[in-house]
């Protein structure tokens, strides 16, 4: 009898298993493939490895501005793929070793809930006091004719491309679509991004989304917003543009980046009576499902679809299983888009604050206010927007665009999480010169006295 069986070895599942192991519990982790989940194998890690290469290439193109002369610049897809594979393998070994160190039994196979306290895997039934469902998500396929064409890739299969396509059509301007748009535009692909919405939805903040669209367009991507895809013919996209005119776009590949959906099928949820729908498994802020002893975390809950949110949810669930008071707080979970330039945010947007009837003050400062940003980003663009409560001056949201934002956004999340006020931030010392000083300036300029 295990204290806990985790189904799914992504960041939600393996962090939870390791945490329970460290608490001295008997834990099994069931994973069908290699440990690490979407994040490590098909998501966060490989895409960021790709993006590093495209960003470096873009930097090299303007090396002269830094006083460096380069010649014979080229892009070697094979080498980029190889580097990605190496990084993924290193990290996968790290996860395996984490499981070993934490005393977690890893079972390779497909787990399925058999009863409230039993999981069926590899023809055997394992008993457990607690079951944590962490089956993650997979790319969603919209109902568009021709989506099954072999030339239509999703965020998983596109990572296996061993060529740089000449022309790529990306359907969906969410963060996945925008990251691939940023990458392919910089390595020389003619990129066209389609979205049915009038604006890029990748960034929650409207001003950031606008600036991101401009920046990615400057890098060579074209945008067809308010566009309705009618069908896909091989690798040709048929669509109606914003004026409703029927058009076609011939590409070499089409990337379906319309979103992801929770993996709720085939896990025994119905038999166990777990409450879920197509949007995911319903959980409380303690990680509980409606069935006692069955818990869920990560993408399968359909809540945030972020690796770090999944890991935190998993740990919250484990703590509550074993009597440690804990709860998830979503208000300050940061989000990053690794486009070039990067986008990072934490807390609420202006739209959310207006909807909630919260009066706020805001300030927007250019990233260049921090000397280090100018040094590091020749010709770079960006700004930081800070939102604070009008009454108490408490920080409510930070929305930033500009390279370096991903590394300082945790600070904003921390301040929001601990409900710091502008006056408190004034007491904090930021290292100089760093890009994080832009965060400080934005907050301090959101004056409220």
């Amino acid at each position: 009898m295990y204290d806990l069986i985790v189904i799914g070895g992504g960041p939600g599942g393996y962090e939870a298993a390791a945490h329970a192991g460290r608490l001295g519990k008997k834990v099994a982790l069931i994973e069908e493939r290699r440990l690490g989940g979407t994040c490590l194998h098909e998501g966060c890690i490989p895409t960021k490895a790709f993006l590093k290469s495209s960003k470096l290439l873009a930097e090299c193109r303007k090396a002269e501005r830094y006083g460096i002369r380069l010649s014979g610049l080229g892009f070697d897809v094979g080498a980029v793929q190889e580097r990605k594979t190496r990084i993924v393998s290193t990290l996968a070994r790290g996860v395996e070793s984490l499981m070993k160190r934490s005393g977690v039994t890893v079972i390779q196979g497909r787990g399925r809930i058999a009863a409230r306290n039993a999981v069926r895997v590899n023809e055997a039934t394992e008993q457990a006091r607690n079951i944590l469902i962490a089956t993650g998500s997979r790319p969603a396929a919209p109902a568009i004719a021709g989506m099954d064409s072999p030339r239509v890739l999703d965020s998983t299969s596109i990572l296996e491309l061993h060529e740089v396509p000449q022309r790529l059509a990306i359907i969906g301007a969410g963060y996945i679509g925008m990251e691939f748009a940023s990458f392919f535009a910089e390595v020389g692909t003619e990129v066209t991004v389609f979205d049915i919405l009038p604006e890029v939805s990748a960034a929650a903040d409207r001003d950031v989304a606008k600036r991101l669209t401009e920046a990615v367009a400057r890098n060579g991507a074209r945008f067809e917003l308010s566009a309705k895809i009618t069908r896909i013919d091989g690798s040709t996209v048929h669509y109606e543009d914003r004026e409703g005119r029927a058009k076609t776009l011939a590409a070499d590949y089409v990337l379906n980046a319309t979103g992801r959906k929770p993996v709720v099928e085939d896990a025994g949820l119905d038999e166990a009576g777990v409450d879920y729908d197509a949007g995911g498994i319903r959980t409380s802020e303690l990680g509980k499902t409606n069935v006692p002893g069955i818990w869920a975390c990560g993408d399968v809950t359909g809540r945030m679809l972020l690796a770090h949110a999944a890991a935190r949810e998993g740990i919250v669930a484990v703590n509550n299983m074993f009597g440690v008071k804990d709860r998830i707080r979503y208000e300050a979970i940061p989000a990053v888009i690794y486009t070039h330039p990067e986008v990072a945010s934490a807390g609420r947007t202006e739209e959310e604050l207006r909807r909630q009837g919260i009066e706020y003050v805001k300030s927007v400062v250019p990233m260049g206010i921090a000397g280090r940003f100018l040094i590091e980003n020749e010709g770079g663009t960006g700004f930081v927007k800070a939102l604070a409560g009008a009454r108490y001056g408490n920080l409510l949201g930070v929305h930033a665009i500009g390279d370096g934002a991903s590394e300082f956004i945790f600070g904003a999340a921390w301040m929001i999480e601990t409900e710091m006020r502008i006056a408190d931030v004034r007491e904090l010392v930021f290292p100089h010169p760093t890009i994080s000083e832009a965060l400080k300036e934005a907050i301090l300029q959101a004056s409220w006295e």
Binding site: R329, G389, Y392, N394, E417, T418, E419, M420, D424
Partner: protein
């Protein structure tokens, strides 16, 4: 020598008490052990006894005020003795020593008779207090005779809620912090405060009690009628042209006074089975202030002209809003008017202000179809809601008063003709 009387601490979690009532008034003689005041905590009522014999030289707080524990509430001594040295500072809350943590004492079933003195700390507790700069007041120890042990202080020290900067700001505005929050390491966050019950303010507490008493001790009913407001609107316009700032409500109050002069049975108070009719009309009017409902009183309103009445209403309203109104101006009313018409209310049931026996509600002005010379015309009417105590005023006399009031309002031009 004069003896100050402190607000006691009737429980270790109590930081301030509501001064409900003075049993003895300033200048009265009191004897040792005599109850001089009634106080209330969130949980129970208590009495304050005179610690010495003498005359109540001065009281420092009004009824209805929240008084910090251990603050001097009054002084007993011989007439002529100086008592100023005992007057508490305006903000008499015990000022926290910088760097010191505020104590959040856990609920204890043992309410102390009096706070233990410093000597009640064990040597180890003293050392803990010194090292941690932690000197909470009113701790009852678990040692013999309530001696405070190190363990008691340690538990208190660690049970004090840690709060976020935002929550801290909100606590200063009167929000109550739970012992444990939902933040990192159980830090108290803003939303934890919003979940917590809000303690009623002193003024609110008084209002609540008076409202309950009003409904429990009288037989209230409300009559609704409306009066042609054409005259009111015309008169207001005329005053305005004459440079006199008089509004509809002022004029309705003026008419009410005139009607009350002719109906003394409504300008009365019912106290312990006896009806006191008042020759003077001390007219109260409900005033919405940031602290809650306050009813300023215009003394001898029957002697005032419309302009004088309006000016008096304006002055008292300003004082009530700024909190600068004196006690004498919020007590002794004999009849009350409450106007919700300016907020668009069409009719309501005002609650009696006991021991008064009648209260008038003034409603919004609305057009009403009226048959006139065989035709339907639309005429502006002002709504009137009169609540009466059926113990002493039956329906017919109440209705007759309302009729009289309507006549005054409809003939207001005549009524004020000498004034313009």
């Amino acid at each position: 020598m004069a003896t100050p009387v402190e607000m006691p601490r009737p429980g270790i979690t109590v930081e301030e008490c509501l001064l409900v009532r003075w049993r003895s008034r300033k200048g009265e003689a009191v004897s040792t052990g005599q109850v001089i005041a009634e106080i209330e905590t969130d949980k129970a009522g208590f009495e304050v006894e005179a610690p010495a014999e003498g005359v109540l030289l001065e009281t420092f707080f009004e009824e209805g005020e929240l008084v910090p524990v251990f603050a001097n509430i009054c002084v007993i001594g011989q007439p002529g003795e100086n008592y100023e040295e005992f007057r508490p500072r305006k903000d008499a809350r015990p000022a926290p020593v910088p760097g010191e943590r505020a104590a959040a004492p856990p609920a204890s079933p043992h309410a102390p008779a009096s706070p233990p003195a410093e000597a009640f700390l064990s040597p180890r507790a003293k050392r803990f207090a010194a090292e941690h700069r932690f000197h909470p007041a009113g701790v009852v120890g678990s040692g013999p005779q309530g001696r405070v042990l190190e363990e008691d202080l340690r538990r208190l020290y660690h049970s004090a809620p840690r709060v976020s900067s935002l929550a801290d700001a909100m606590i200063h505005e009167g929000h109550v912090a739970p012992a444990e929050g939902s933040g990192v390491n159980r830090m108290v966050r803003a939303r934890d405060l919003l979940d917590a019950p809000v303690r009623l303010s002193g003024v609110r507490e008084i209002i609540a009690r008076r409202m309950r008493e009003s409904l429990a001790q009288s037989a209230q009913y409300t009559l609704h009628a409306s009066a042609d407001a054409t005259g009111l609107l015309a008169v207001r316009q005329r005053f305005k042209s004459a440079g006199e700032n008089i509004n509809i409500n002022d004029l309705v109050m003026f008419c009410t006074v005139r009607a009350l002069v002719e109906a003394p049975e409504l300008n009365a108070e019912l106290i312990e089975g006896r009806l006191y009719r008042h020759p003077s009309i001390h007219l109260g009017f409900a005033c919405d202030t940031p602290k809650g409902l306050i009813v300023p009183v215009i003394r001898d309103s029957q002697n005032l002209s419309p302009a004088e009445l309006a000016r008096r209403i304006r002055l008292l309203t300003e004082q009530a809003l700024s909190g600068a109104i004196g006690t004498e101006d919020i007590s002794g009313g004999t009849f009350t008017v409450s106007n919700l018409g300016s907020l668009g209310i069409e009719w309501f049931t005002p609650i009696l202000n006991p021991p008064q026996v009648a209260v008038l509600g003034v409603n919004a002005i609305q057009v009403k179809p009226v048959r006139k010379d065989g035709e339907i015309v639309f005429i502006e009417h002002i709504g009137l809601s009169l609540t009466l105590d059926h113990q002493v005023i039956d329906g017919a006399p109440g209705a007759r008063f309302l009729k009289k009031l309507r006549e005054k309002i409809e003939n207001v031009e005549e009524l004020v003709s000498g004034e313009l």
